[in-house]
């Protein structure tokens, strides 16, 4: 399989993950679409540099999270972008109302975390082990443990409010 087809397969396999990352790091549809495209672009640009030294998912999460972090929001500073398939970014429309409410509440809570906590929380929700979270974030596993405890406390206090 050539490099281009290999890349297409990888993105197809992970389109849900990219979607979830863009939802966490943006607060409107336009920024989300732009970020989605930017992540795919950055992954493509770095695709040749992936050397199997780490797991593919570790590499992908790191690039996607870094891109999300460094992308300046431009909701009020519109540039021209070609809309990608709208369906990709409107997945929740098929859910039942109760589930949709739970998803909204989930995002509301995550949006209140700071930039570092958001990344750790996302990886935790994605089912990553502390070691892999540590590898992606560049922190130690024990530090990740401490920060996850703090995030849990923060989420609890948000509930009380």
């Amino acid at each position: 399989m050539d490099r281009e087809n290999e890349f297409v397969q990888v993105i197809k396999q992970n389109e849900g993950v990219i979607f979830k990352i863009t939802t966490i790091y943006t607060d409107n549809r336009e920024d989300q679409e732009d970020l989605y495209q930017d992540i795919v672009y950055q992954l493509w640009k770095s695709f040749d540099s992936f050397r199997n030294e780490s797991k593919f998912s570790t590499w992908m999460y790191r690039i996607a999270l870094n891109t999300a972090l460094t992308r300046i929001k431009k909701s009020k500073r519109k540039g021209h972008s070609v809309a990608i398939d709208r369906v990709v970014l409107s997945q929740t429309e098929f859910y039942d109302t109760v589930f949709e409410e739970r998803v909204k509440l989930l995002y509301v809570q995550i949006h209140q975390l700071n930039i570092l906590e958001k990344g750790i929380m996302l990886l935790l929700l994605e089912g990553k082990k502390y070691d892999e979270i540590a590898e992606i974030t560049g922190m130690t596993s024990s530090n990740i443990g401490t920060r996850i405890s703090r995030i849990k406390e923060k989420l609890k206090s948000q509930m009380v409010k």
């Binding site: 993105i11 197809k12 849900g16 495209q37 795919v40 540039g79 972008s81 739970r102 990344g119 509930m159």
Partner: protein, 199 residues
Amino acid sequence: MEIEELQATWSQMSEELEKQKKLTKEIILKMTHQDYKDRLNKIAIPEKISAVFTYVIAAILLFRFYELDSLPLQICGVITLAILIVLPYFSLKYLNGMQNLDVSILNYKESIIAYEKSKQRYQRFMKFTVYAGFVLMLIIIPVGSKIFDGDDIFSKSQGDFWFWFLPLGTILYFLFTRKVIGCYNSNIKKAGVILEDLD
């Protein structure tokens, strides 16, 4: 929601997303093209337009600098030129620095540190531009009136003009920019908190 509930909701959502994959090869490849990325990356357009506009004014001033024939006018002219040339340059430089971090090399923590530091630097610079803007507002009057009207306001009496303009201009300027400076201060502080947390 407790963390367990969040995880359950997240898992269910992930399953739904898996069922709804919609990206096609064509869409993915379109997103990988450089010209596509260029169209997307237009965040610095307002800064670029203002930079061009500012440099045009600086060029006019430079070509007609010889018309500033007294020392006070020449001092005002040099300061005006310095502000017009230096500010847009650093504005674009800092903005590019924020946008062009190498996302493939850094880990998340390093990216946050690099990004927040750049952000702090940019916000401090923007705060400085507000003060520089005030200086520019004052000194561009004698320079502009000499170049465009031939009037040297330092050599003849301006009546009550400066008596009213200076205090009124100062009050209005800082009244209008107070919110902007507050916003810059808040962003600098937020970035500082994150950096301190990562120390």
